[in-house]
Amino acid sequence: MYRFIIRRVLSAIPLLIAITLVSFAIMQMAPGDFLTQMSLNPQISPQLIEKLRVTYGLDQPVHIRYLRWLWGVVRLDFGYSFAYHMPVIKLIAQRAAATLLLGLSSTIFAWGIAVPLGILAAVHRNSWIDRLTSILAFMGISVPTAFLALLAVFAAARTGWLPIGGMHHMSYEFMAPWQQFLDLLRHLILPTLVLGIGMLAGLMRQVRSNLLETLRSDYVTAARAKGVSERVAVYRHAFGNAINPLITIFGYYIGDLLSGAALVEIVMAWPGLGRLMLDALSGKDIYLVMGSLVISSIMLIGGNLLADILLAYSDPRIRYD
């Protein structure tokens, strides 16, 4: 097992380099750079723009810039944001916690509801509960998350029941710790719902179809024939095998924790990485984009590795050595 993990971690290195190389190249192919935005301002002289270009190292050829950046990453220096005059890693760290919190809460919400509902739908196939969850799932899948977020904002503004956006009340700093906690929960509800509903819908369908498939398999029929109760047949015999694909999906969700919420964050003023990354991308603040990309890639690769390890524990048939 340990040899497997070491091998996977080592093989992730060339993968990461390939990812960064391709994304760096794609960002270079689009015309213009961070300073292009300034060039149509009559109050900024072309000489100043050239000076800044030299200061930022943007006058160097692409391959030199990439290699310099990569050498920096090796020494855990993710570069410098042009817009903020600050190390990229500090900027990301400032906001990653909020994004992670929202990612975790919506993941827990989605899984917590999707798994039981999926099982229920599979066990009671073609019943009213199956039909109802199917309809809800298709609605959840087809409504775009950003639109749902806008709806939530307007609903909150209309009713005044929940905060319209943001993560803390204006006077958060002056609350007692328990008030702060409650305030955070109140602010979490809407974004968690909005983000969770899309995930939930897809997941529930996955759980349902996986379980249905295993319920139809021969060994479950055999178990039933032996006379075990339906409960045992479903939970002991079928479910354990049905969750294998879900563990793999779970790995991908981990990779998505930092980057999956951008749109919701922007609409609902959640102080995470969303707006920062969108602005960095449209403003060509290239090292900021690359920094977050590397971190997201590491999360994705790590999530997949974790999923594979979990698979080995949950399914004795799987051996990596």
Partner: protein, 581 residues
Amino acid sequence: MYKQLMFFLTAVLAALMIAECSTGKDAPVKPAQPVISECELKAVSGDIGRYGGALVLMALSDPKTFNPVTASETSSTEIINHIFSGLVEMNGETMDYEPALARSWSTTSDGRTWTFTLRKGLQWSDGLPLTADDVIFTFDVIFDSRIPNSTADVLSVKGHPIKTRKVDEQTIQIVTVEPFAPLLNGLTTPILPKHKLEHSVRAGKFNSTWGIDTEPEKIVGCGPFVLNRYIPGQKVVLSRNPYYWKMDTEGKRLPYLDGLIYVVVPDLESMPARFMAGEADLLSVRGSDYAMLKRQEKAGDFTMYNLGPALGTEMLFFNMNPRAVKLDPARRRWFSDRNFRRALACAVDKKGIISTVYDGLAVPQNGPESSANRVYYNPSLPEYPYDPARARILLEQAGYKDRNGDGYIEDSSGRTVAFTIITNVENKERVDQGNIIKDDLQRLGIKVTLAPISFNSLVTKLDKSSDWEACLLGFTGGLEPHSGSNLWKSSGQLHIWNPAQSTPATAWEERIDRIFDTAAVTLDKEKRKALYYEYQEIIADELPVVFLTTPTRTAAIRNRFGNLRPAISGALWNEWQIYVR
């Protein structure tokens, strides 16, 4: 709900201020400090307000830095401008330059030497004295070759930096290589605290100093407010600077407000919702929300103020560059024909653009300066009202008519008049305008293709390859016409229709060049005004670009504030006097 919230906020802010006073901000006055009575505060007229309360604003994005010299975009400068003051300031209503940190100034008869006298007893927000040394330090930073910044350009005369000299603790002398009228405009630049920044300049780390991770106490300023806290992605809290240099007519130190709070709301769509829910006191109103908000004015206890037109201008211009190898010579011939451009100006339905694109919140533009420019805007320029019949006659007189009956007009050599307008796709309003213009011109028989492309591709086309025919774009404007030199002078890089000419291509461009050069060295305000009036007349007559519209700005502000005097320069330009009634 709203009242409760505001009451709560005000209480919280007051508590915050008190907490701060007791934790040492108002620590015992050191003997070296001048006492308040010796300080020459600037008295400002208006209602006598009362202290306390806060005003909540919304910002679309976070500040990127708190460094006044390296800050280059509005989300940072908007915050920074509350924290700092310059030697002079611009009056938000009259748009004249008035004394700020400098109490007075004088110029020698040759117009090259300026002497500025600081107010007595000026103090930084940490209580230390603000002296001529800080002013000298500021200009040393601006002209430091390791610190690229745009103020250095503004304060350079023909490429030569201004020279500054300390006369005594309170007096600074500035020498320019030749008389330089836009100097006062440049001297609104924030003055920096030497005692806080000298170290980082010496260490070569100034560019990254005062980034957004700086502890607020370290950012020492001389404006009406100081940074109290900044929480990334959430809010910026500014609190009263107890050492600000303005007072009311009763001698009470300003500002009245305890603070300003910027809440970060990254989505334009949810701003009106937040404003209506009472979570903010001020909203920049978009045309599409105007009617909805107007109906709620009474119920929401706010008033909508028309701030007047913005400073920027939207225009349509054509490639006349003889060095543009990729440009079809026939097209260059049409575009260089003044009658052709005039016909196009008559063919564009500006009123239609205003009502469909801006929901009525815009004004037609006739010349290069926005009517927001109180001082220099020439109100009697020739206009080109929407008149398709006149456009058709102008075109026919210039030799463009439908010669083969296909519905499109041809030039004298039989070429169908067709061209492509590029614009940047990120700006929805511009793309909408482009579509209206396309339809208007199509009706005249001109075949127009609209090509919205990304801003960066657009700049590359305009700048590097000159591979374009017509372009729809807006430019950042300023109150000082001189800052448009790069656009209007024939040698300018941004003189896009025929950029960076070594000698002016036409007689009128030569005249414009001369006007800009003369106006820059003319210190007499009336003479400058006459010169810039003439430049606007020439441009409006020669029409190198077709001017379109200037959006007007509207702000909705809660009625609970006093001394509100919204003007073109902003809804809160006199923030030091605003108080909670």
